[in-house]
Amino acid sequence: MALRRTRRRAPEPLAPIIYRWDLDKTYLKSEFDSLRGLIRVPFEKPQDKVAVPGVAPLIRSLREVAVDAQRPVRIYFMSASPPQIAKAIKQKLAMDGIEYDGIVFKNQLQHLMRGKFRNLREHVGFKLTELLKSRQHMPAESREVLFGDDWESDPIIYSLYADMLAGGIATDNLDGILGPIGVDRRLVALAKELAAAVVPADVVQRIFINIERRTPPKDFRAFGPRLVPSFNYFQTAACLFEEGHLTLPAVAAVAESLIGGSGYSPARLANSLADVVRRGHLRPASAMTLRGYLQTRKLLPEHAPDGVRPSLWERLKRRLQPQVSTAPASPEAINYETLIAHWRAAR
């Protein structure tokens, strides 16, 4: 009888992971709401710039966890702000201990010189082409997680980018999608050219949108379950934990920074965790794991909020009766023409 030798196979290396971050309203609490704030932004010193609560420890943890798992990781930032403020931004990121692999700004001066005034406010073309350009230099097997906000068009830009990489949008259709938004024709042509060079692969794992403008969650349903609208970075961290991007201590680090540095209470975090479960973006089992760990670290209230426990009959009835669905819509192809019209009408 021949001896069968069992050869232990080396574990397959993890695919590189790329985290792409928008800057204003996603990383920084930029004051674009008023003319005064808009004028002040270019003159702000790095120490005057304020990060959105919890974002810095979250990004630091994303890199640390990937490095510990020996997974290649890259972090990129993208901003529609002009490069003139790059120095202050870079200093701010250094102050926050953020290591990154690239940062891109929008050359507003170029548009001014060319008399393309509409391009000053139109960011879809700029961001989409920059994302596609950057993708060309990434390993084909690399996966991406994208972070933006609800202030302008990040949900549309990121979803378009994800579907273009996945081959879900024919390049010929781009005119019909980008044209009505007012994207410069040259940028549309560039986007088509870059998209044609893409080897189709479903590489965007998740899109996180920071609900900075308090947009109602239903406005994001049409983007499908890939897009997660989150009210704070604790919710984002919880979802990233479920998908293996963060460890329990890393989520705790985000929670600690929110409680220690931003006036959050354990009760507020507990409410946030329950909310993201109810909206269908986090499985109850993951929430339970997180709750157990964070309670031992005193970052969530010691007792579960269900102090008045429903009767057995009530719990049984609850299981049997049909529930109103609050989860995001099923992953269907996004109708961008309709979606863009609705999204922009709501802005």
Binding site: P217, A267, V308, E314, V324
Partner: protein, 337 residues
Amino acid sequence: MPTIAVDAMGGDFAPEEIVNGVAQASLSTEIQCILVGDESQIQALLNDVAYNPEHIRIHHTRDFIGMAADPKTSVRQKRHASILVAARLVADGQADAVVTAGNTGAAVLACAQHFKTIRGVRKAALASVYPRQTEYPGQDQLALLLDVGATIRCDATELVQFALMGSAYARGVSKVPSPRVALLNMGTEETKGGDALVHAYRRLKTISGINFVGNIEGNDLAKGKADVIVCEGLLGNVVLKLLEGLADVVVDLAGTAARENWRWKLGLMMLASGFGRLRDLTDYAAYGGAPVLGFEHLLIKSHGRSTARAILNAIKVAAKAVRDGVTREISTAIDQL
């Protein structure tokens, strides 16, 4: 910051308006709210509006007591009705006060079932607020009338206790340092109204911590002579319903007149801004609700037709009363009797 348990399923426009009101409170205040009701219905409604989840907890229960249901039977049969669960959350220390726009009888019974009565208080009172003229600067636009239905008949001691409770509440919530307290009677003289009212008058006159201004008659209710008007539940309820009925009649008459005569219509149109201001002053949504007094915890009862704005204001009133320690104030006042 206080935590307010809100009965999501109580009210003519529940749960939509209740959930919207809590969503508004979550954005504009730091008050923590516990929405008590059907979790999936509540979350589906929250998904449609702007809200801050950090300030909202949902406590699931599917049962509720309808506006037209018999309170006694319903409270006995539906142990997990939203109003009862909300009161239980307060009794357990998970919340500080309750807000409900639901069945009034059930709300009072929920308090009686789950809250302890303040030591020395013989009967709880249901209060209501209504708009009236003001007589001095800083006087609240709204007067507090109690009891409007928690009791039927009362003796002198109970009326005195109502006066003390109403005065403490008005001091805390209206910020009137020394609210004028009066007994509702059939004449202003001390000897009018029968034994209970006469004895109550004489005792109130001797209590130093209260600004007792004597008896007032029905025709003075709409004037600013008193900030707190005390009466037994049967009378208070009749007065309250009469005021509401009159308001409906006035609106109805104006509408009829406008339809029948173009000159009247023109006149009403010219007075539109004045009517608008009057409506703002008398809008129940602006004051949110009125308390059930006499228990160690507070319940704010909003109008059955409460909109989101009314619920938002009721939550603010409840939080304010909790912050100002209104029940503690009442307890101190009763102790001094």
